[in-house]
């Protein structure tokens, strides 16, 4: 009853092609943005903002990146972690080499470096498909990680091999480095994410996104219809890696503050892949929902007993958390292989026909 499109007429194709053609959706998104920008920083505890919200939003960015590659273009990648690493190392180098330029510029620019690297490792995708390609991207994962460790220049020859976020500010407010308040970092992350989400959704809804989906669904037919596979796939690698790279840079500058190469390991790749699958391949909302689930849930489960005042050995909590997350992943795959995005759609569908089923 509350979710109806009846009575809302579209008067032009532009209306029909809008992201949120239904008024209720538009109101909903405005409310969510308001909560994100106002309520969270005002009422969220520092722990909530810094340990749950910030990494969640950053990983959402990475999930959007991977979703472009896997969900839209149908190319599986297990190298997300390393592509994020490229962004982080690039941003670190840029920000230390040119300290006077605003760090946000470098965060955005670092994505281009991982885009370039992504394109190089995307080249085999012309010949190799499916899971075979996934393994090819593993080559990227391990090779890049090796570079992070071996190429001293990347870390400015730091003896510990780690990279640190320098202190930088925006409009007089410190936003990166030790001492930046979580609110400032959060707002930066949120703004970048919102802006890039908007761009990503523009791309995937337009000509380029359609080409990606053509290649994903039936590459031969796409080719016979005049789509050139290699440039299309490479573009997907580039755009996807761009998002991952920016996410990596944000992870360093707005979340950890200091990272070593091992943080960009295969676990991270898997984590992002989980988000994309659980959230729903080929869906922007899915990336958000998936990231929320995979990034925030373990933290919540891990600290839930503590918050509830239950005493459990921490190792047990951790083991049980691992099990629960694994179990939930299987559970959700079974309930809905198309992820939260589909559940969301079905939910809307049900709302639409409510109170009459079917």
């Amino acid at each position: 009853m509350f979710y109806r499109e009846a009575g809302q007429f579209k008067t032009g194709y532009a209306d029909d092609m809008a992201v949120f053609p239904i008024r209720q959706d538009r109101i909903g998104i405005a409310v969510i943005l308001a909560i994100a920008y106002v309520a969270v920083p005002m009422f969220g505890s520092p722990f909530f903002v810094s340990t749950i919200m910030i990494p969640m939003l950053i990983l959402t960015m990475a999930a959007i990146g991977l979703n472009i590659l896997t969900g839209y273009a149908g190319l599986i990648s297990l190298g997300t972690g390393a592509f994020m690493g490229v962004g982080a190392y690039a941003c670190f180098k840029l920000a230390t080499a040119f300290p006077d330029v605003n760090v946000l510029v470098w965060v955005l620019a670092s994505g281009f470096f991982s885009a370039a690297v992504g394109v190089v490792f995307g080249l085999p995708s012309l010949r190799i498909k499916g899971l075979y390609l996934a393994v090819a991207t593993l080559a990227a994962q391990f090779f890049l990680q090796w570079c992070f460790v071996r190429v001293g220049w990347l870390t400015n020859y730091s003896s510990s091999g780690s990279i640190e976020a320098a202190r930088r500010s925006l409009l007089g407010v410190q936003i990166t480095g030790p001492g930046a308040s979580e609110t400032a970092r959060y707002l930066c992350v949120l703004t970048l994410l919102v802006a890039l989400t908007w761009i990503a959704s523009n791309i995937v809804r337009g000509r380029i996104g359609r080409k990606w989906m053509m290649v994903r669904d039936m590459d031969i037919a796409a080719e016979l219809m005049g789509v050139r596979l290699l440039p299309t796939k490479l573009l997907a690698f580039a755009v996807s890696s761009y998002f991952c790279g920016v996410a990596g840079a944000m992870l360093l500058f707005f979340h950890y503050g200091s990272m070593e190469s091992i943080a960009f390991n295969i676990e991270l790749s898997f984590q992002v892949l989980f988000m994309v699958i659980i959230g729903g391949l080929g869906s922007m909302i899915g990336s958000y929902l998936g990231a929320g689930f995979i990034a925030a849930l373990p933290v919540v489960i891990k600290f839930a007993p503590q918050i509830l005042g239950i005493e459990l050995p921490s190792a047990v909590v951790d083991q049980v958390t691992v099990m629960i997350i694994g179990g939930l992943i299987i559970f959700f795959l079974i309930v809905e292989p198309h992820g939260f995005a589909r559940l969301w759609q079905i939910g809307k569908q049900k709302l639409r026909v409510w109170p009459f089923p079917y």
């Binding site: 032009g12 194709y13 761009i199 053509m214 994903r216 669904d217 037919a221 005049g226 050139r228």
Partner: protein, 272 residues
């Protein structure tokens, strides 16, 4: 019909109706030991409906694959619009105005009907990456312009009601219709149809026949058609070529072919 630009350039040399548009000569294609095509020659004239028939495994689909560059024959020459065609990548055939439908429906499963047909226009859209990111200005104008054309095709094929349905879930007959729509969206000069009416009931076959004839009539599109329903083939095609396990056994008007004893033996079986 408004969705085809009449002023569109048709390549180096415009071909008048009735002239030879495509000619294949001595095409041979083998897969390992299987000779799918054995020195086949025939031509397709501008504006006609050219049927290719033959028993299962005769090499009909392979012939279409050769024409649009997906298979490369070991021998033979193909002349299109008067130009000898070199070995080419599949995506160039599309650029030259050859589009097709597939025997085993090859729609983009995850896309809606609308997007599938929009996909047909992929080659015609070219606003740059920057505007695509913003989906604003030229990108939006272009999108709307093509959307309008696509809506015309949707109207033409009477599939308005499934516009926003992901095609994976459509019943077979409608999938075939969407596929035709997608091919039409490419504004082809030569349209290759591989069993467009398989799995349809009579009513739907009638509709499909009507669409095919309308397309030809209104845009002068040349059509090559593979079909096993002899009723349809005999009624709507102008000339028929008959293949039998890689060989050409007959070529002529429907009536001639129908009476040819080789064809009856190899393909038609008992008349009905």
């Amino acid at each position: 019909m408004a969705f085809v630009d009449t002023g569109r350039k048709t390549g180096p040399k415009p071909i008048a109706a009735g002239e030879v548009l495509l000619e294949v000569e001595g095409i041979s294609l083998a897969f390992g030991g299987v000779k799918a095509l054995n020195s086949i020659s025939f031509d397709i004239r501008k504006g006609e409906v050219r049927a290719i028939i033959g028993p299962n495994g005769a090499g009909k689909t392979s012939m279409l694959n050769v024409i649009n560059g997906f298979y490369h024959p070991q021998h033979g020459r193909i002349t299109y619009r008067g130009e000898l065609r070199r070995r080419q990548r599949p995506d160039t055939a599309a650029a030259q105005g050859i589009s097709r439908t597939f025997q085993n429906v090859a729609l983009f499963k995850g896309l809606t009907t609308l997007d599938n047909i929009m996909a047909g226009r992929a080659l015609k859209m070219n606003v740059g990456f920057f505007w695509q990111c913003l989906r604003f200005g030229p990108a939006l104008t272009e999108e709307i312009e093509h959307r309008r054309k696509v809506e015309e095709i949707i109207d033409f094929l009477e599939i308005e009601h499934i516009r926003k349905v992901p095609v994976g879930k459509l019943p077979y007959g409608l999938k075939k219709r969407v596929e035709l729509g997608r091919a039409l969206a490419q504004e082809p000069e030569l349209l290759l149809l591989d069993e467009p009416m398989a799995g349809m009931n009579l009513e739907e076959k009638e509709d499909m026949s009507r669409f095919i004839l309308d397309v030809r009539e209104q845009f002068g599109t040349t059509i090559a058609l593979i079909e096993h329903d002899m009723g349809v083939v005999m009624d709507i095609s102008d000339r028929v070529v008959v293949l039998d396990y890689g060989r050409k056994i007959a070529d002529g008007t429907p009536d001639e072919v129908q009476k040819n004893q080789d064809v009856i033996d190899a393909y038609l079986g008992v008349q009905h």
